[in-house]
């Protein structure tokens, strides 16, 4: 399980930003991290106490819980390169870590 990514995506129900973030993220994950991640989607309208515990203000927010360091990416994740960068993940570095 080494190198497995644990991700949480905080969204607000069916808003356009939230839905876009979900689609954009699934794209990135399926292309770059297939089989190497666990994603938990949290709707802050349904579970506001989880947003309180994690001190989430902006939505959507993607939180990378593992591997450390913890990173957060705010927004609808519309720029794939920046998302990868935000996850400390580039195509090259992923290759190295798997080797």
């Amino acid at each position: 399980m080494a190198g497995k990514y644990i991700l949480k995506l905080y969204i607000t129900g069916q808003t356009a930003n939230s839905q876009r973030a979900l689609i954009n993220l699934e794209n990135v994950l399926n292309n770059e991290l297939k089989g190497l991640y666990t994603l938990k989607v949290i709707d802050v309208l349904k579970d506001p106490q989880l947003a309180e515990e994690e001190k989430i203000l902006a939505t959507p927010t993607l939180a990378k819980v593992l591997p450390l360091p913890i990173r957060r990416i705010i927004g609808d994740l519309s720029d794939k390169e920046k998302v990868l960068l935000g996850l400390d993940l580039t195509v090259e570095s992923q290759g190295e870590s798997e080797g």
């Binding site: 607000t12 954009n24 802050v44 506001p48 939505t59 990416i73 927004g75 994740l77």
Partner: protein, 507 residues
């Protein structure tokens, strides 16, 4: 009910006076000021007093200090916020900076923030929310357009929930724009400025200034603001122009001789404390006060913890007063309770309901001591202050009684803070003279007016209280307490001097 007033008391001493009844209910009010002007203390106290005095729970949204710091920093004011959190009366939304590193990729909103506020409001059934300070959001997210839109969304959501909100904002400098990032644009209906400037004597002085309130009156001048060991207090400027209205009109206490001592009676809308040992004539004084109003057709409330309606009617009857008739006609609302019947908040609610519904002009409560016996000191103080603040706002003239022991009378008044909560204090006392017990009456203070300071002798006759005249040629009537009176007067004088000083320095 209270709803139609459209205001919510802050409970911050003096603020409800300069704002003519508190901040607009169900709206957001912006509190803007440079750093060190007292924004956080104002916000915390706004919630704290609401919970303690009016049973209005609160949500505190903090952007700068974390909740632990706020709890610790406000302990010195004697506020136990930790306890209120435990009792589910106070909730924090912790938006203080954390270590998590974040970047922005694409479009976002503050849906998480809004969801957390709504959640906290529902959790403690909050009536008030304080957000301190929204400027942090602008520095954190660097997109003023989004933040303004989102704060507007917070304000309108709270409005729908009928929750009253204050938002603080950082002011770049003492002069110039109201707040950084134009926060006032979307809460522009209600704006308050806190100032902290150098004064002429080289020290710093805080003041508060209400810039605007939506469709509502307020004082427009700056008022001195003090933060001391009990928190924040505002000192409203004296209002000489309002002479002939409100606080400068005198009304009769119903006792002729007492009115003379008070130079024409008590001020309308003032509160009077009648304090004395058991059996000195407090209840008959109460009856004088109520009957005087009732005879003029003034709607009155008499809250009686010491006697039953029957006892009270026959008591009044023995002085030739038909109290029952006024009660039947609805001029006098008679409320007889055992003190234990209701909790302090319930008594406050009940009184507020009655006053608003009946447009009450006079209220008498006999006696505060009955409540003092069963409440903690803190609770009792809150009740007395809360009641007094409410009656002031509603322009009710009140008379409250207090039972003291023979020798500690005056010390007790000052200790329970009743002396600061009431405008006028009248002392009743038994004195032993020439082998007789005689009755003594004296006006200890009357706020904003001259009064005679003599120790008067009085009797309770079939016509009620009759003032006979001053005790002459006798010393030490007040025994060991005489020195105490002097101290009180000095404090009063000092307080007046202080306010005079602080207002003069500003003109």
């Amino acid at each position: 009910m209270i709803k139609k007033l459209g205001r919510v008391f802050s409970g911050i001493p003096g603020f409800d006076e300069i704002s003519h009844g508190g901040v607009p209910k169900g709206r957001t009010t912006l509190i803007s000021g440079a750093s060190g002007s007292g924004k956080t203390v104002f916000s915390v106290q706004f919630l704290y007093e609401g919970i303690m005095n009016f049973g209005e729970n609160g949500v505190f949204v903090t952007f700068e200090e974390n909740p632990t710091d706020i709890i610790r920093n406000t302990k010195s004011f004697g506020w136990n916020i930790e306890k209120l959190v435990r009792e589910n009366k106070w909730a924090f939304v912790d938006a203080s900076p954390d270590d998590a590193d974040s970047t922005v990729v694409g479009k976002y909103d503050l849906g998480g923030f809004l969801a957390r506020i709504e959640y906290a409001v529902k959790k403690v059934r909050a009536k008030k929310v304080a957000i301190d300070s929204v400027s942090a959001l602008f520095t954190h997210y660097q997109d003023p357009g989004i933040i303004r839109r989102e704060l507007y969304r917070v304000a309108s959501t709270l409005k729908k929930m009928n929750v009253t909100c204050i938002m603080t904002a950082e002011r770049p400098t003492e002069e110039g724009q109201i707040s950084r990032f134009g926060v006032e644009e979307f809460v522009s209906d209600n704006v308050i400025l806190l100032h902290n400037r150098l004064n002429k004597r080289g020290g710093r002085g805080r003041t508060i200034e209400i810039i605007k309130f939506r469709g509502a009156g307020h004082d427009s001048e700056e008022a001195p603001l003090i933060v001391d060991k009990e928190g924040m207090s505002v000192y409203p400027r004296p209002k000489p122009k309002l002479r002939g209205k409100g606080f400068s009109q005198k009304i009769s206490t119903g006792i002729k001789g007492l009115d003379e001592l008070l130079f024409g009676g008590v001020y309308k809308n003032s509160s009077t404390l009648v304090t004395g040992t058991s059996g000195t004539g407090k209840t008959v004084t109460t009856l004088h006060f109520i009957m005087e109003g009732a005879e003029r057709g003034e709607k009155s409330i008499l809250i009686e913890f010491e006697e039953s309606p029957g006892q009270l009617y026959s008591n009044a009857h023995s002085f030739g007063w038909d109290l029952e008739k006024h009660v039947e006609r609805g001029i006098v609302q008679l409320v007889c309770h055992y003190p234990e019947d209701l909790r302090a908040e319930q008594y406050l609610d009940m009184i507020q309901d009655l006053v608003v519904r009946n447009k009450t002009k006079r209220l008498a409560l006999d006696s505060l001591s009955a409540l003092q016996r069963i409440y903690s000191e803190e609770k009792f103080r809150e009740f007395a202050i809360g009641l007094n603040a409410f009656l002031k706002m509603q322009n009710v003239t009140s008379l409250l009684t207090n039972t003291t022991s023979q020798f500690l009378g005056i010390t007790e008044i000052t200790e329970t803070h009743l002396s600061t909560a009431t405008d006028n204090i009248i002392i009743l006392k038994y004195v032993e003279l020439g082998g007789e017990m005689r009755r003594l009456l004296s006006v200890l203070k009357q706020r904003g007016s001259m009064h005679k300071k003599e120790l008067m002798e009085f009797e309770v006759t079939p016509k009620g209280v009759q003032i006979l005249g001053p005790f002459e040629g006798v010393e030490n009537l007040m025994s060991g307490s005489a020195r105490r009176i002097e101290i009180r007067f000095d404090e009063e004088e000092a307080e007046r001097e202080f306010i005079k000083e602080s207002t003069r320095g500003r003109i």
